[in-house]
Each structure stands twice: as structure tokens, then as C-alpha cells.
């Protein structure tokens, strides 16, 4: 349990945040320059706040009023930098061993072999960082931090420097270490998909302040037409179960109370719970029930809210059967042409879906 309350002013930037993170992944989410990185640097002890308090469980790491300051090397907090920051003069094996060397024997609960296996870096041990790909470097950096058996793992946009293919390569590893090593993680990202996929709690930062805290479904949903969440980032999170796999067509059917969601790609296990993230820009609303369109996923719902301003867009919020909320962006013209209003029963046609395959290894983010 990490509790953070810090104030800090720099020449062109002020930070004033307070939040708590529990077990699992706490996502620190927000646009570039909102102070995410500064917050985790303060937690790691690399940035000294002007005032406030940082505590990990019952260990106080910083208390401005009481004059408490624990140096970074005594905090037992792992930090994975955006660009790995491996030691260029040491090979992978020595990079991995570095933090372990400084960890007291009694505190070493994470074994090298397990980390190497989970991260798939066994074949890299004799290589120098300069010869590794970006994804390999990031995995080694994660392993290096893990092997100090930290009480908390901080990850500062660990995937930001990677291309999409490499992101898909790393995300399952982050999920596995979340589930297998049971270390609380504070995960910084400006990617709504990463946060929706990994986080139990999301803390949204804007201009150096916490603007929202909650589950991904709460925090990442749009609140108004001109939402503080960017239009293309606003998502709805639906919970479903894997119903059937169709290897012939290469698709998986996910059951949701409001209908069946077709996901391209094969989920390995039927019957498992999955979280589905749907961008509000990927939802089409239809008054008629139709299967004569190419979109295969149609969820039934009732309009509970229509937000418009004087701009071109409207934000329509549906309540689906089962109670999940689904957000859709449409033009104001379309809303008026269809005469959409609160209480209308509609079909939500969903073009693309991304999946959080918690507990289902080997699956990839998919979009139709």
C-alpha cells in the first residue's frame, strides 16, 4: 500500500497530488507533461518534494513536516525507466545481478531463474545492452528491478519507446509479473489501452493535479462531449466471459449480457473472464436491428444520456443489459436525424475491440 501526498514547484511546473495505491497495478494516467514521471521519481526518491508525505505500508519514506527523507538506495523500490537505462558497460547477466547484490540475503524472495523464465531473457545473458533490441532491453530492465525483490515496482511508460509489435511483446510479461510475483505496481502511461488492460485503480493526472480516481471503466469513460479524456482515448470497459472459439474463422465469441462480442483472434481458454475495452469512437448506433452490415458485434442498450454542445459532436451514453455503461460518439447531425433521445432502445454496433486477457497468456490485443 503506497500513499502519496506531495507538493512540488519547479520553474515552469507545479505538482500537487495525493492518492493511494493498493495491491495489483495502480495506473497513473494522463497527457504528456501532467507530472506522471515526477510523481514516480518522487516515490523512488530521485526528486525531492517541497512538502508532503510518502509512505509504503508503515514505512515512511518522506515526510516534509517531520524532516524524514529516505535515500533512494534504501527505499527498496524498483524503477523501470522509459528507456531501460541498463548499464552499458555490463552484460545482461551482470545487469540482472547488480541489484540483487545490494539486496540483503533475507530480503531476496524473487529468484533469478523465475524472472529469467517469465521474461524470456535466458538466451541474452552474455550480451551487452548495445546489442539488444528495444523490447529485449526493456525486459532486462524489468528483470533487473524485480531481482531486488522490491516492495513496490514503479514503471515509467515502459512501453512508450517501443513500436506496437514490441508493446505486444512486453505487455503479457507485465501481466505475468503482476500476477505471479504479487508485487504492487505503479504503472505510468498515457496509453488508455495499457491502463485499461493492466490497472485495478486508475489515477488520472492533469496539469499536476489528480483529476479522477477509480476503476478503469470509471476514469477512462468520457464525461462530456469535450471531455478531458481525448475523444480518441475515451473508452468503455465491459466484463464478459469467453463463450466459444471458432478456429475455422479465427475468432472468439465473448458473452456479455447485452449480446455476443466477436473478437478476432483465438483466446486459448473458454469460460474465462475477460475485460473488453471499446473506444467511444468505434461505436455506431442503430435504431433498427440488422445483421446486414459487416459489423458482427451488436449490443442492445438504452440511451440514458445525450450530451451535446454547439460543436459537431454528441456523446451518447447507453446502459446495456447487465448494467455496464457504453459510450459512443456520434455527430450532432446524426443524433437529430435519428431523433435519439433518453429512453430510446438502440443497437450499438462495435467495429473494433481490445481485450484485457487477464489470466489468459499468449493472447494479443486485437482490432478487427
Amino acid at each position: 500500500m503506497i500513499s502519496v501526498a506531495v507538493k512540488l514547484a519547479r520553474r515552469d511546473f507545479a505538482l500537487d497530488v495525493a492518492f493511494e495505491g493498493g495491491a495489483g497495478v495502480t495506473g497513473l494516467f494522463g497527457p504528456s507533461g501532467c507530472g506522471k514521471t515526477t510523481v514516480i521519481r518522487a516515490i523512488a526518491g530521485l526528486e525531492r518534494p517541497d512538502s508532503g508525505r510518502i509512505a509504503l505500508g508503515d514505512r515512511v519514506l518522506y515526510d516534509g513536516a517531520a524532516g524524514v527523507w529516505v535515500a533512494p538506495h534504501r527505499r527498496r523500490i524498483g524503477l523501470v525507466f522509459q528507456d531501460a537505462q541498463l548499464f552499458p558497460h555490463l552484460d545482461v547477466a551482470t545487469n540482472l545481478a547488480y541489484g540483487r547484490f545490494f539486496t540483503p540475503k533475507a530480503a531476496r524472495r524473487i529468484e533469478t531463474a523465475a524472472v529469467v523464465e517469465v521474461l524470456g531473457i535466458g538466451h541474452l545473458m552474455r550480451r551487452r545492452p548495445a546489442t539488444l533490441s528495444g523490447g529485449e532491453r526493456q525486459r532486462v530492465a524489468i528483470g533487473r528491478a524485480l531481482l531486488t525483490s522490491p516492495d513496490l515496482l514503479l514503471m515509467d511508460e515502459p512501453l512508450a519507446a517501443l513500436d506496437d509489435q514490441r508493446k505486444l511483446e512486453i505487455l503479457p510479461f507485465v501481466e505475468r509479473l503482476r500476477d505471479e510475483f504479487a508485487i504492487p505496481i505503479v504503472y505510468v502511461s498515457h496509453s488508455v489501452e495499457e491502463v485499461a488492460r493492466l490497472a485495478a485503480t486508475v489515477v488520472r493526472l492533469e496539469h499536476g493535479r489528480v483529476s479522477r480516481v477509480g476503476t478503469p471503466a470509471q476514469v477512462l469513460a468520457p464525461t462530456a462531449v469535450a471531455s478531458s479524456i481525448g475523444r480518441f482515448e475515451a473508452i468503455s470497459v465491459l466484463a464478459g466471459t469467453v463463450a466459444r472459439i471458432d478456429p475455422g474463422y479465427g475468432v472468439t465469441f465473448v458473452d456479455h449480457p447485452a449480446g455476443r462480442i466477436v473478437v478476432p483472434g483465438l483466446l486459448p481458454t473458454a469460460g474465462g473472464d475477460v475485460r473488453v475495452a471499446i473506444r467511444a469512437t468505434e461505436v455506431t448506433l442503430s435504431l433498427a436491428r440488422t445483421d446486414r452490415v459487416s459489423v458482427r458485434t451488436a449490443l442492445a442498450g438504452r440511451v440514458i444520456r445525450v450530451d451535446t454542445d454547439h460543436g459537431a459532436l454528441a456523446l451518447v451514453t447507453l446502459e446495456l443489459a447487465g448494467g455496464d455503461r457504453l459510450h459512443a460518439y456520434a455527430t450532432r447531425l446524426a443524433v437529430d436525424d435519428l431523433g435519439l433521445d433518453v429512453g430510446d432502445e438502440v443497437q450499438a454496433l462495435i467495429k473494433s475491440v481490445s481485450i484485457d486477457e487477464r489470466g489468459i497468456p499468449g493472447l494479443r490485443l486485437v482490432a478487427e
Binding site: L46, A71, P72, H73, Q85, L86, F87, P88, F101, F102
Partner: protein, 228 residues
């Protein structure tokens, strides 16, 4: 091939250069680190003082050393009385002069290599549990190694060539303070000394070249292993 006096000068030069380099290296590393990583009031003044020997006439530096470290100098009297360390008209004085003259070159090279290190690599080491001294020994110094080697070689070469400050501070005493440049100077002032002066000049060229090549090789080796 060489006369006994010439051999003495060559060996003395190597000794003076080595001792000057080895003794100033830790100080130069510390000063370079402070200048590269710390901000404090008066930093530009410290920086200026470090660089003074580079821009002053060497004779002025030598005279300054004579005032400070001579028998009656403030520091010289103290060191002679309490530590038995005498600089004036001894080879130790030649080493001191050489060290002071090479110091700015050494600091410059090392400072640049410290500044080239991404401090986040050091911060990564700290988050992995390394105390500041461990970070310095296991990350900072290895990553700055080529600059440290280059600085040391540069200072060694400078020490071998140092003349003005040396002759002003400790004179030109064969067997005590007569290094290669002083010996060459003495030979050129002596009728029939041209051959000896030429021989010693060639020796100076050979040592300087060897030092430069050695530095180049070590830099290249370090670069091969330490690029990000």
C-alpha cells in the same frame, strides 16, 4: 648510445611524469566530478583557478610555486617541518610543478566524460540499492574511464614536456631536477652539445608519440565496450 647524464635525465623525466600523474589523478577526478555534477556559489572561480596554469606564463606558475612551496614559503615551510616533505630543488618539486601544469588538462578531459554520462543510469543504480560511493565506483568511473585515461595520458605528456615552471621552481640540477627538456636546454647552451640535444629531442618525440598511441588505443577499447 646515451651518456650517463642523458640516461639520468630520461629516467628522471619518466619518474617525475609518472609520480605527477598518479598523485594528481585522484584529485583531478574529485575536482572534475564536483565541477560536472555540483552547483555551488563561486563555481566559476574554482573553475578559473583550476585552469590558471593553462593560461598563465609557466614562469609565473613556477614563481608562484616557489613562493608557496619554497623553503620559506607558507606551505613549503609547514610541509618541511611537519612531514619532512621538501620540494625546493628536489625531484619532488619537479613532480609538483609537472603535476600542477598537467592538472587543468586532466580535469578538463575527465569532466567532459562525467558530463557525457546520463545521470539516469546512476539513478537506476541508486534505485537498485547502490549507495552513492558504490554508484560512483561501479557506474560513474567505468563509464568515464576513457576520459580518465585520456586525461592521465595528456597530463603525463604535459609533465614530460614541462620546462618553464620546473626550471623557475627547482632550477636545473643534473640528477635532481634536470628532466629531458632542461637537459636539452642545457645541451643547447653548451658548445658541442647539439648531438646530445638532438638525441634527447628524439627521445621526447618517441615518448610523446607512445603516450598518444596508448591513449588512443585505450579510448578505442573503452568505446567498444561502453556505448549505449
Amino acid at each position: 648510445m646515451f651518456s650517463a647524464e642523458e640516461w639520468t635525465a630520461i629516467l628522471l623525466s619518466l619518474k617525475v611524469g609518472s609520480i605527477a600523474t598518479i598523485a594528481t589523478l585522484p584529485v583531478a577526478v574529485a575536482v572534475a566530478w564536483v565541477l560536472a555534477r555540483r552547483d555551488f556559489p563561486g563555481k566559476s572561480i574554482v573553475d578559473g583557478i583550476v585552469h590558471l596554469p593553462l593560461v598563465l606564463p609557466p614562469v609565473v606558475t613556477g614563481y608562484g610555486l616557489l613562493l608557496l612551496f619554497g623553503r620559506r614559503g607558507v606551505l613549503g615551510a609547514f610541509l618541511a617541518d611537519h612531514l619532512g616533505l621538501v620540494f625546493s630543488f628536489r625531484w619532488t618539486g619537479a613532480a609538483l610543478a609537472a603535476g600542477v601544469m598537467g592538472f587543468p588538462l586532466m580535469v578538463r578531459a575527465i569532466r567532459l566524460s562525467f558530463e557525457a554520462i546520463d545521470t539516469r543510469v546512476e539513478q537506476a543504480a541508486a534505485t537498485l540499492g547502490a549507495a552513492p560511493l558504490w554508484v560512483f565506483a561501479t557506474v560513474t568511473v567505468p563509464l568515464a574511464l576513457r576520459g580518465i585515461v585520456a586525461g592521465a595520458v595528456l597530463a603525463f605528456a604535459k609533465a614530460l614536456g614541462e620546462f618553464g615552471a620546473t626550471i623557475t621552481f627547482v632550477s636545473n640540477i643534473p640528477g635532481q631536477t634536470q628532466t629531458i627538456p632542461s637537459a636539452i636546454y642545457a645541451l643547447t647552451q653548451t658548445p658541442g652539445g647539439e648531438a646530445g640535444a638532438l638525441k634527447l629531442s628524439l627521445v621526447a618525440v618517441a615518448i610523446a608519440l607512445a603516450a598518444l598511441v596508448a591513449s588512443e588505443l585505450s579510448v578505442r577499447r573503452a568505446r567498444g565496450g561502453a556505448t549505449a
